[in-house]
């Protein structure tokens, strides 16, 4: 399976001072989550990794070969990307949309065979959109189109999956099933690298995390080392940390009747090391963590960390 590494990579955002050089290594079996506020360059990074943009400096190596010198076709057999926004200038059905994922695997004169069709249908089935196969994609809902786009990537079946906010527009149930799909793909030897906005999803499903800060700084590593309060408070200006007893009082009503709501599962996952539960509430991010001992906070005076 395929490995993508970056050497001293600085992405090119016009008019921005260069940030920290990235030395990432996307190994088969890993699920990466990229977290950071809007406009920090997550999408640019994703496009750069896919070879669609020149980096400002540094190198990208796909299985040891310089990515920018490779031809697009072999690259697209090894690496695919789900974009955040899609163009449907011309009408196409969901099945046709998924079927273009076979393009890298066919020679110019070759028509799609029954086998290609079966692969595309299998992908639509997996993403739970097979019933929409003959519908035009521009008549589908946002979440359905998102799943068709992921089905296209699945049809493409590259070794490295890059996804720009794959859970956009998805309801809770489909968020979970898409994340499960991505984990399964990683388990079968692929590398998954996705931008996310939801810390809960990142904590629950990613084993590697890249944090991109507004000032151009970045840090990356195993999730349990990254999802710590000092890093998160730098990431999210409005973060507010509550003591456990108070957080659990906030969280209780919802968590009581749902095991698919995330904080339960993520508290399980991290129970060995840090235990974190967070809850987005308006502008506030409430984090409960054993390590972060905020004992002086009384119920009436919650205070932001770091002040």
């Amino acid at each position: 399976m395929t490995t993508l590494t970056t050497e001293e990579l600085i992405i090119d955002i016009p008019g921005r001072t260069p940030g920290v050089p990235l030395n990432l290594s996307l190994q088969p079996g890993q699920v990466w989550g990229v977290l950071g506020p809007n406009g920090v360059g997550k999408t640019t990074l994703l496009h750069t990794l896919a070879g669609l943009r020149e980096p400002r400096s540094g190198r990208l190596l796909l299985d040891g070969n310089p990515l920018m010198e490779l031809r697009r076709k072999p690259v697209s057999q090894q690496m695919g990307l789900v974009f955040q926004d899609r163009q449907d200038g011309f009408p196409a059905t969901a099945l046709e949309t998924a079927l273009i994922g076979r393009h890298p695997w066919l020679s110019p004169w070759q028509m799609e065979s029954g086998k290609d069709l079966a692969i595309a249908e299998q992908a639509l089935e997996t993403l739970d959109v097979i019933h929409l196969r003959d519908r035009l994609v521009n008549t589908l809902s946002g979440g359905e189109r998102q799943r068709v786009a992921i089905a296209t990537l699945m049809t493409q079946a590259p070794g490295i999956w890059l996804l720009d906010e794959p859970t956009n527009h998805l309801d809770l149930q489909h968020q979970t099933s898409v994340m499960k799909l991505l984990r399964n793909q990683a388990a079968s030897g692929r590398a998954v690298f996705m931008c996310l906005h939801d810390l809960n999803l990142a904590a629950r499903w990613c084993d590697q995390i890249l944090l991109m800060f507004p000032d151009g700084q970045a840090c990356w590593g195993p999730a349990r080392d990254m999802l710590i309060t000092t890093a998160l408070e730098k990431l999210l200006a409005n973060a507010c940390f509550l003591p456990s007893w108070m957080a659990s009082r906030f969280l209780c009503p919802a968590s009581l009747h749902s095991d698919h709501l995330y904080w339960f599962s993520c508290s399980k996952r991290f129970s060995g090391g840090i235990q974190m539960v967070y809850y987005l509430m308006g502008e506030f991010l409430c984090v409960q963590s054993r390590r972060c001992r905020i004992t002086s906070v009384s119920p009436s005076t919650t205070r932001p960390m770091g002040k």
Partner: protein, 324 residues
Amino acid sequence: MPISNPLKPILVLVLASLVAGLLSVSIGSSATGIEDTLRVLAGSGSELQQTLILELRLPRTLSAFATGGLLAVAGALMQVLLRNPLADPYVLGLSGGAAVGALLAMLAGLAGFLVSGSAFAGAMLATLLVFGLAHGSGSWTPSRLLLTGVVVAAGWGAVITLILSMTPASRLPGMLYWLMGDLSHATTPWPGLIILILVCLLVFPLGRALNVLARGSLQAAALGVSVRPLEWFIYLMASLLTATAVTMAGAVGFVGLVVPHMLRLVLGNDQRLILPSCALAGGTLLVLADTLARVVIAPEQLPVGVITALIGVPTFLYLLYRSR
């Protein structure tokens, strides 16, 4: 795939174009029956009929077919290139450049081959102008190309009006006919037909890549398409097709926009099916339109562009209405 057997629509269109061609060479100021026509085409028949059909009508019919095919394929390519269903060679100012070239030649008192050559030069100049300007600082996007084309086309329009207003009244009818599209001077169909077939053969293996390109250039690049070379190639091919068509028949409007759309509404948007279908359907439409143009007010002739619009507009609107 909406069409289970892609050969079926192609066969239907081949049949339709043959029937249209047969009708076109049989009908005229002195009508010959279908049997007589077939006899002449088989190599017999009277000498008069042979001259009439083989030397007068057949070249014109073939020219009409080539022009229609060239324009329709050019339109289909432009629409994919710009990811905009409104694009066609005319919108991008290519025919405007050709028209200015042709009119200047006519104004200088030139005729025949020199007018055609001047039109071809004008179309290619317009191509380079639009592409060069849109390319500019290096970033060209479909919308930027389209906007450049539209503005340049408006500029050509002004120049055309200027030339017309400076032209002595005696020369105006010829110019106006050229501007509306006119096949009566088209005598040698072969360059057009050869270019049409050649470009179709060149573009066909790119059909699936064009399908991917229709989803946006980034998506296409992510799926292994070398976007920039492909876009250049498509633009050059479309320009060559347009330049050839306007050189043969003047500015026949409407075919490049409407034929690809009609076919997409019926056949879906697989370029491997749409491009050859465009060549056949565009050709058939123009053969029929030219036949009508010759007979409606015979012995006078109408400019064929009027007929393409009169046939095309209601057909297109009907298909659009029905497709909801």
